[in-house]
């Protein structure tokens, strides 16, 4: 990204799209300049601003890990103007990209620890980045558990990968849905309840959670009941963003900007901020 003109996107092309759920699509993109693509570096948890020229820009986590750089992946839920337009695009279409932006998961501090991923719906997107990064550096981390839920089985993202992760043997996968269907043979129940039921130990552990605000709220409560301290709980925040580089003023919480000081925060950091979520 050009530091002198921080608002100028670089051109990229969509190389693949797939439907994850009725309203969530995954996009794989590459920079149009191969040298740029080859030189691109980022840390898990950082985000990009995707432009559809003529419509606007929106922030999405770089959903693939830096250990797999054939493309950059973004998972997008269709909610507003930009995402509706983005969902109509297909392989070969051009987009703009400003990346990497924001901070990243403090994975260095997580080395040697047990990791508990707690995700809901499209909140699985940032978790996937860190999960794959950790799986690609498996020996650096202890036990890895994924607790992931959606409204229904159709609302789970990365369905094929969820199967693969469950079959790997070096991580635990616990899926749940709020409402099952005739083929669903797994758990039924909200994510925080599953977390509580599993009784994951906070001993030498870090929890990384992302999902709808209400899920995060109850998840944090459940983690606290299990004995997780604020420094052991990591999450990513959402905020309406525009410039993505801490200038336009929009995404502030207190004197922090979610686009620069975040979007990754520990619960300890969030408690220090004015409670405006």
């Amino acid at each position: 990204m050009n530091q002198q003109t921080p608002y100028m996107p670089e051109l990229a092309t969509i190389v693949e799209t797939f439907d994850e759920t009725p309203d969530i699509k995954t996009f794989r993109v590459v920079y149009q300049d191969p040298a740029r693509m080859a030189a691109f570096r980022f840390e898990p948890g950082q985000v990009g601003q995707i432009s559809v020229f003529g419509t606007g820009e929106s922030t999405f986590v770089i959903n693939s890990p830096p250990t797999r750089m054939d493309y950059l992946q973004f998972t997008v839920m269709r909610v507003g103007e930009l995402t509706h337009r983005l969902h109509t695009l297909k392989a070969g279409d051009p987009i703009g990209l400003r990346a990497p932006l924001g901070n990243h998961f403090p994975y260095q501090d997580m080395k040697g620890k047990d990791i508990v991923f707690v995700g809901g719906g499209v909140g699985m997107a940032p978790l996937r980045t860190l999960l794959l990064f950790m799986l690609d550096n498996r020996k650096d981390y202890g036990k890895i558990t994924l607790i992931y839920g959606g409204r229904t089985p159709a609302h789970l993202c990365y369905k094929q990968e969820l199967k693969e992760w469950a079959e790997r043997g070096d991580m635990q996968v616990e899926l749940t849905v709020d409402n099952g269907d005739q083929n669903w043979k797994g758990r039924v129940g909200v994510v925080p309840a599953v977390l509580t039921e599993l009784g994951t130990s906070p001993e030498n552990a870090v929890a990384v959670t992302c999902g709808p605000p209400i899920m995060i709220r109850f998840t944090v409560q459940a983690l606290e009941k299990l004995g997780f301290k604020d420094e052991q709980i990591v999450t990513t925040l959402e905020r309406r963003m525009k410039c993505g580089v801490g200038v336009c003023g929009r995404c502030n919480i207190g004197d922090k900007f979610v686009c620069v000081d975040g979007p990754v925060f520990t619960q300890a950091q969030l408690r220090q901020m004015p409670q405006e979520f």
Partner: protein, 357 residues
């Protein structure tokens, strides 16, 4: 430093001369407002009152092109499109006549955002380097002025290239920077009596009511952050419009939008206001600041708590407010930010540790 004298009836001619070398913005009276207009012949600059809007428009225009884009369809495969992105044009040297010291001080606060925060905003930087302030010093603060509460004053020189001091028959002119020397060069040296009048003026600044101690503002704010009764009462009158933010020399928040004409378009940045209900509205429909109480709290908090905390490593307490009083003067419902800040300090002093919302 050479003191020069600009007779009142020569202001228009001197401004016309400046207009040969610079794009000049000069204040003129239109109805009840004093508006900056691009200099044109037969204009009568009006320097008797602070302009209605701040001078920030010279550095941060209300609408600015970030870049243009063009889609081109591949004629052999109509389903394929390409996008070409081109940058916008650089600015021309600009002279803004008529700001007051409170306006010029605002520039430093804008620099904090656009130059000091980790990224450099190239367009702001280019305008900043090419804009010159010919400021009018204040003799009589208005009842909405409180520049000295926030570290300024009626003759504060920060941000000015040339300062005009009202004297009998016109203005005593002092160039404060190298660029200012160049601008003032054509104005003749002042006669002895004008120099004397200026000396006396500078030695006797206008009386202003004592400034309250605002040093506890940041911590008071945090203490009563969750006191929604307080913020509801203070914001009960607020219309959620954009008058305060758009007229403020220190407010700089902007929106970024794409505007199309067929297959071509431009990405713009435009002034936006944190007081608008839509400002933090997320795509999901969630809004962290749904009420006027939340938004007024954020605005006051940003100016008197978040900004000072952001810059506190760099020395003295700095608020993101120059005390120009425009937000008070022009607010349709007379919200008075002085009142809000003083109430906040009082409430904070009496409060227990932070009240949870």
């Amino acid at each position: 430093m050479v003191v020069r004298f600009l007779p009142a009836d020569a202001v228009a001619d001197v401004t016309a001369a400046w207009a040969r070398d610079y794009h000049v913005l000069a204040p003129v009276r239109e109805g009840s407002a004093v508006v900056y207009r691009t200099w044109a012949r037969d204009m009568h600059p009006f320097l008797g009152r602070p302009p209605t809007a701040s001078a920030k428009q010279a550095l941060l225009p209300q609408t600015e092109n970030l870049f243009n884009y063009t889609y081109r369809k591949d004629k052999d495969d109509l389903t394929r499109t390409e996008v070409f992105v081109s940058e916008a044009l650089p600015p021309e040297p600009t002279l803004i006549l008529g700001p007051r010291p409170c306006d010029a001080r605002g520039v430093r606060l804008l620099d904090r955002v656009f130059l000091d925060r980790g990224v450099t905003d190239a367009q702001y930087k280019a305008r900043r380097a090419a804009t010159y302030f010919v400021t009018v010093a204040c003799d009589e603060p208005e009842n909405t002025c409180f520049c000295h509460w926030t570290g300024g004053g009626p003759r504060d020189e920060n941000g000015s290239d040339v300062m005009l001091h009202p004297v009998k028959g016109g203005f005593a002119v002092r160039a404060l920077t190298e660029a200012g020397e160049k601008i003032a060069a054509s104005i003749p040296e002042a006669p002895a009596e004008v120099q004397k009048e200026l000396e006396e003026k500078l030695a006797n600044p206008p009386a202003m009511p004592a400034a309250p101690d605002l040093s506890t503002a940041p911590e008071s704010f945090l203490k009563i952050f969750g006191d929604m009764d307080f913020w509801m009462d203070e914001s009960a009158r607020c219309l959620s419009c954009g008058v305060c933010t758009y007229l403020c020399p220190a407010c700089s928040c902007f929106n970024i939008t794409d505007e199309n004409s067929g297959l071509k378009g431009r990405r713009l940045r435009t002034w936006d206001t944190c007081m608008s209900a839509l400002y933090t509205l997320e795509g999901s429909g969630h809004n962290p600041r749904p009420n006027r109480s939340h938004r007024l709290r954020n605005r006051v908090g940003h100016k008197f708590c978040y900004h000072p905390r952001e810059v506190e490593k760099q020395g003295a307490l700095e608020f993101s407010c120059t005390g120009c009083g425009r937000c008070i003067k022009s607010c349709p419902v007379s919200v008075d930010i002085r009142r809000v800040v003083l109430d906040m300090i009082e409430r904070g002093a009496a409060a227990a540790p932070e009240v949870k919302p």
